[in-house]
């Protein structure tokens, strides 16, 4: 179902909105390369952050190491924190490589965005963690059939995160949704920095505020699911 409906639908949405953006703003596309490459690098940070949680968790499942971990004194919260640390290392490496390649191949220096970029990156990392924890919870609950979410759930946020186009390109109903997606504030903020050079404090405050709510909900869901899978005996089943 994901292959037939989900991916093509998301592709169509993202590319459709990019096309709309190019048509509507063709007279006024300042620094479009910086918009696109900057957005691509930042989106990849979010994606790696999420994968650092959910794919690292899946690696323990695939290696049948999962029960060894959960039969040890390690607490579930400690396990999630360790996945966050792994995710941070992956982000540093992947983000570094992408930034270097963008500079070498396209003379695009992401750091022209200045120090203001760092809190926005932090916001994306936190959102990636939240999505990763939710994905992990769903895999714990629904088993192997939910594994595809490790690659798919973050992409669900892409069209309404306005990664490659401004929020104003979206229809009004999706603009309302985008307001409650932390990443949309990050990408709007990035474009504001590139266009005006000013620091969009309100976008940062919105994104970090929403991040706090997202990560809180993700942790609550994770502990709720942990309790449920222990009751249903699913924790042992997924680990063998």
């Amino acid at each position: 179902m994901m292959e037939i409906f989900y991916w093509p639908f998301l592709d169509l949405l993202v590319w459709g909105f990019i096309s709309l953006y190019l048509v509507r703003y063709r007279e006024n596309l300042p620094n479009f390369v910086a918009f696109l490459l900057g957005a691509l690098i930042l989106w990849d940070i979010l994606f790696r952050s999420q994968q650092g949680i959910s794919v690292s968790f899946l690696e323990d499942v695939w290696a049948r190491n999962f029960l060894n971990i959960f039969a040890s004194p390690l607490k579930p919260a400690e396990y999630i924190v360790s996945l966050m640390l792994v995710s941070s290392v992956k982000i540093l490496i992947a983000g570094g490589v992408m930034s270097l390649l963008a500079w070498l191949l396209y003379s695009f220096n992401i750091f022209v965005l200045g120090i203001s970029l760092l809190p926005f990156i932090l916001s994306l990392v936190i959102l990636g963690w939240a999505i990763g924890i939710v994905t992990t919870s769903l895999i714990l609950r629904f088993g192997q059939q939910a594994e595809v979410l490790a690659w798919g759930l973050a992409l669900l946020f892409q069209p309404v995160s306005a990664v490659f186009y401004p929020v104003s390109v979206l229809p009004s109903s999706l603009q309302a949704v985008a307001r409650y997606i932390p990443a949309s504030h990050v990408f709007e903020g990035m474009r504001a920095v590139i266009t005006t050079g000013g620091f969009p404090t309100h976008e940062l405050v919105w994104s970090l505020g929403l991040d706090t709510a997202y990560i809180g909900i993700a942790f609550v869901l994770f502990f709720f699911v942990m309790k449920a899978v222990k009751t249903r005996g699913l924790l042992a089943k997924i680990g063998e």
């Binding site: 959960f70 039969a71 040890s72 004194p73 390690l74 222990k230 005996g233 680990g239």
Partner: protein, 244 residues
């Protein structure tokens, strides 16, 4: 051998319409090897998973080292360990790296010395730098057993630990477990389908059938009470009991 390490009382586990474990009570004393036997689906693995806190009981209580497992899980698991033929290790790590990870998880002091000792005991010194992905299932089982002893546990939960070992290594493993049990007073809760092995290694056995304990005692006593020659015959009689 009087100190009680594990106390299980009226342990019950229901899965939807199935009662997997039905009011099971038993104790494991210090330095004792308790074997849990039973046909597939008897509830052996479910009991071990409940003792490790991986599955929550529907009712009943579990106390380990006198502590309630529900409230002191992490503290209890610090002094316990587990091995199963159905689990493995991170395949991108080497044998030695895997043991290092678990030595840290169990906060083992003098980690390198302990790892070197276990590599020697399990005859894995030559493969210590080999990645787990390149190991045979028998070697992974040995690595799992080494991991299970990394923290010198006071109670060891073993779920069919020798199922994929060749007879030589399986025999050495049993000898080693008995030796450690005698030297360190370690308790072991052991499940296996190998009746000869259970007869040989267990101080006491519990026979489970459909989640219930249907026989318990020393292997020789159980064999005698059923007027059979060995545990295998007892197993066959109990497992097929309803049809006879």
């Amino acid at each position: 051998m009087d100190e009680t390490v594990v106390e299980v009382e009226n342990l019950t586990k229901d899965f939807k319409n199935l009662r997997a474990v039905d009011h099971v009570s038993f104790e494991v004393k210090a330095g004792e090897i308790l074997g849990i036997l039973g046909p597939n689906g008897a509830g052996k693995t479910t009991i071990i998973h409940m003792l490790l806190g991986l599955t929550s009981p529907t009712s009943g209580s579990i106390r380990v080292f006198g502590l309630d497992l529900k409230k002191h899980r992490s503290e209890i698991l610090q002094r316990a360990n587990f091995s199963s033929t159905y689990v493995a290790m991170p395949y991108s790590l080497t044998v030695k790296e895997s043991l290092r990870v678990f030595a840290r998880l169990y906060r083992v002091r003098q980690r390198e010395e302990r790892i070197a000792e276990l590599l020697r005991i399990f005859e894995m010194e030559e493969i210590k730098n080999k990645e787990v992905r390149h190991l045979s299932s028998g070697l992974i089982t040995r690595l799992n057993l080494a991991k299970a002893l990394i923290n010198s546990p006071r109670i060891l939960f073993l779920d069919e630990p020798t199922a994929s070992l060749d007879p030589d290594i399986a025999d050495k493993t049993r000898t080693l477990l008995r030796r450690i049990k005698n030297e360190q007073g370690m308790s072991i809760l052991y499940t296996s389908h190998n009746m000869k092995e259970m007869e040989e290694i267990s101080d006491r056995i519990i026979f489970l059938h459909r989640g219930r304990i249907i026989a318990t005692g020393k292997p020789a006593e159980v064999i005698q009470s059923f007027r059979r020659r060995n545990l295998e015959e007892v197993f066959l009689k109990l497992a097929r009991g309803e049809k006879e």
